[in-house]
Amino acid sequence: MMGEKSVRRLAAAGAVLGLLLMLAGALLIKLSSLSALPDHALLRGVLAGRKVILILGAALTGASVYAGNIAVQGRRRLSGFFPYLLILPAMIFLVLFVLYPILNVIYMSFFKGSVLNPTKSFVGLKNYMALANKSAFIISVRNTFFYAVFFVSLVVLFALLMAVWLFDDRKLNKFAQTAIFTPHLIATVSCAFIWRWIMDFNDYGLLNTVLGIFGVAPVPWLESSKTAMWAIIIMNVWKNIGYYALILIAAMKSIPAEIYEAAILDNASRTKRFFRITLPMISPQLFVTLILLTIGSFNVFDSVNAMTQGGPGSSTEVIARFIYLFAFGNANSLGQGCAAAVFLMSIQLVLTAAYFRLLARRVHYQ
């Protein structure tokens, strides 16, 4: 009949279309439960058929998957539809707890609502515009960017340094590797409290006492708006260096020793060997590390909540805290909280795309 490839393409198109229809149907079902709806003839018609659209979409998706699967399996129809059964639980959980929540948050960001009534009234883009004018939000965005830039650069820099420094197979290095990895195992809140105690501005604060031994004046750390964010950055950098250093060391261990030997014979200095061999050859892992660190840094919450609660003033308010305070805060601000969440997601998406655009060329896959 048709070639396998064309059946697959058709099935893929059908599945996408079916999923879109299902999405549309689901959206319409949600809309139909809203109290205030504009009275439009076309809208009423579409809404009436919402369940039909949903079922149609599901059927289309089902049929496409069925046809597509038969095409993919070809003559060896050993497994049939068994694999779908295997991934079903995982897919259900992922859709339920990841995909649906994201779509739902985007949906709710266009409404004004609260916990009891998330979609009280439709406000379109008003939430987003309100955010743009809200100083609390703008400050949190600025602080988060500040944190992200320094957190990521410091972790990458020190993790690389540590990886190179602790690379050789010596007992001292193995011990050091374990030592710097340990903070990763400890809950961020625990670390936060420990450092809060260490950075205490009273005379019994350890950090200032130690600095005093070196003749440095006591630093206000968490008490001053100028230094509070730096305190949080320091704590998080300390917590994360070990983990990423170990990842980089593992990457470096996969480089054959012969290549370094050839480079030594080629008169390459240690710095030359690092920049022209080590770095390019671990660039895939470095790239992934960079992305994970960046995305993670924008989610910073635990340390802020435990160490400063956003203070002093609002010098350490971050986006995640804004969402936390506004989503289930008192005054009907769920919509704004959701809008802030969508904004957070978009930043992470844009940055990831930017990384791919700018750096993918310099990553050497082997």
Binding site: L265, N267, I277, H364
Partner: protein, 346 residues
């Protein structure tokens, strides 16, 4: 062009002594092959010359100068690794030029050298490619070009042909020999393959368990082995070895045997029965079972069949005698005469 000398070299990995008190001179301008079974220390020795695996004690001299503590890059050597060790993130041209850049060679000189040597190995049109896009043979030639472009005094090669398919290996063997003649440099070549050693070397250094078993030209090694190990390592099938009385051991090569259906009466011609016959085309290998033991025969006569009774005849001048420790007994030595007499009326 430089000669290499090892004085009392010892190498230990942790508590394991791999080489003990080794002395060796490698002649300048010659193709020297270090050959032996795995673990015999040949690669270790090569790396001592290179400086990337320094000896535990002892001296290494090049051209009379002590290079034992000299940095690898300043020794005037180049090395071709078994797996080529090409820089995966650089293209062919960058691979070749890397060493030249590091010593600050001006651009025109670099480009001229790259052109010249990539021409010699026929890589001129591959310069922009990355190593992952090349075949095994091409990668090997990049490694060669990278070595040659440094115009070193000594070329070190660590089993460079072992990862190539058989046909390519034979072709590259010839090319490497030609290359050495053309460049006139000292080649130190490590292999476990005795055929490579025999075909390529000016001088063979046969090693086993960290000791030198024999050093000499291929003819010397083949026709005049110093011990049982050398006699049996070189040559396929290996030399036949039979135990006699008094701890003497008699050896003769498979091609030295003439198979006869009827004993000629005089000379060494013990009887036996053909157990297996392998007809290989130009020659036929027979395994003959005699009272004294089994021997392999390499014959141009394919007329014998398995199960036939034959006589294994070997002329005296093609016999080798070894003592109980495995050392060779030569004419003039007392033990030689003692063993020779055991041959009876031969």
């Amino acid at each position: 062009m430089a000669g290499i000398e090892f004085r009392n070299i010892c190498k230990a990995f942790g508590l394991v002594k791999v080489i003990e008190n080794l002395n060796l001179t490698i002649e300048d301008g010659k193709f020297t092959v270090l050959v032996g079974p795995s673990g015999c220390g040949k690669t270790t020795l090569l790396r001592i010359i290179a400086g990337i695996g320094p000896a535990t004690s002892g001296e290494c001299l090049m051209d009379g100068k002590d290079i034992t503590d000299l940095e690898p890059a300043r020794r005037g050597i180049a090395m071709v690794f078994q797996n080529y060790a090409l820089y995966p993130t650089m293209n062919v041209r960058e691979n070749i030029v890397f060493g030249l850049k590091n010593i600050g060679m001006p651009r025109e000189k670099r480009d001229a050298l790259v052109r010249e040597y990539s021409g010699i190995v026929d890589l001129l049109d591959q310069l922009h490619k990355s190593p992952s896009q090349l075949s095994g043979g091409q990668r090997q030639r990049v490694a060669l070009a990278r070595a040659m472009v440094k115009t070193p005094k000594v070329f070190l090669m660590d089993e460079p042909l072992s990862n190539l398919d058989a046909k390519l290996r034979v072709q590259m063997r010839g090319e490497l020999i030609e290359l050495q003649k053309r460049l006139g440099a000292t080649f130190v070549y490590v292999t476990h393959d005795q055929v490579e050693a025999m075909s390529m070397a000016d001088t063979i250094v046969l090693m086993n368990k960290g000791r030198i078993q024999q050093k000499g030209s291929p003819e010397e090694i083949y026709d005049d082995p110093n011990n049982v190990f050398t006699a049996q390592f070189i040559g396929t099938p290996p030399m036949n070895l039979l135990e006699m009385e008094n701890g003497c051991r008699l050896g003769y090569r498979p091609e030295a045997i003439a198979l006869m259906r009827v004993s000629p009466g005089a000379g060494y011609c013990p009887a036996g029965e053909i157990v297996t016959r392998e007809m290989l085309g130009a020659e036929t290998h027979y395994k003959v079972r005699m009272a004294q033991g089994d021997v392999m025969v390499k014959s141009l006569d394919k007329g014998f069949a398995a199960g036939e009774r034959v006589h294994v005849c070997v002329p005296l001048e093609r016999m080798f005698f070894f003592d109980a420790q495995g050392d060779r007994l030569r004419p003039g030595q007392r033990e030689y005469d003692a063993c020779r007499r055991l041959m009876g009326g031969a």
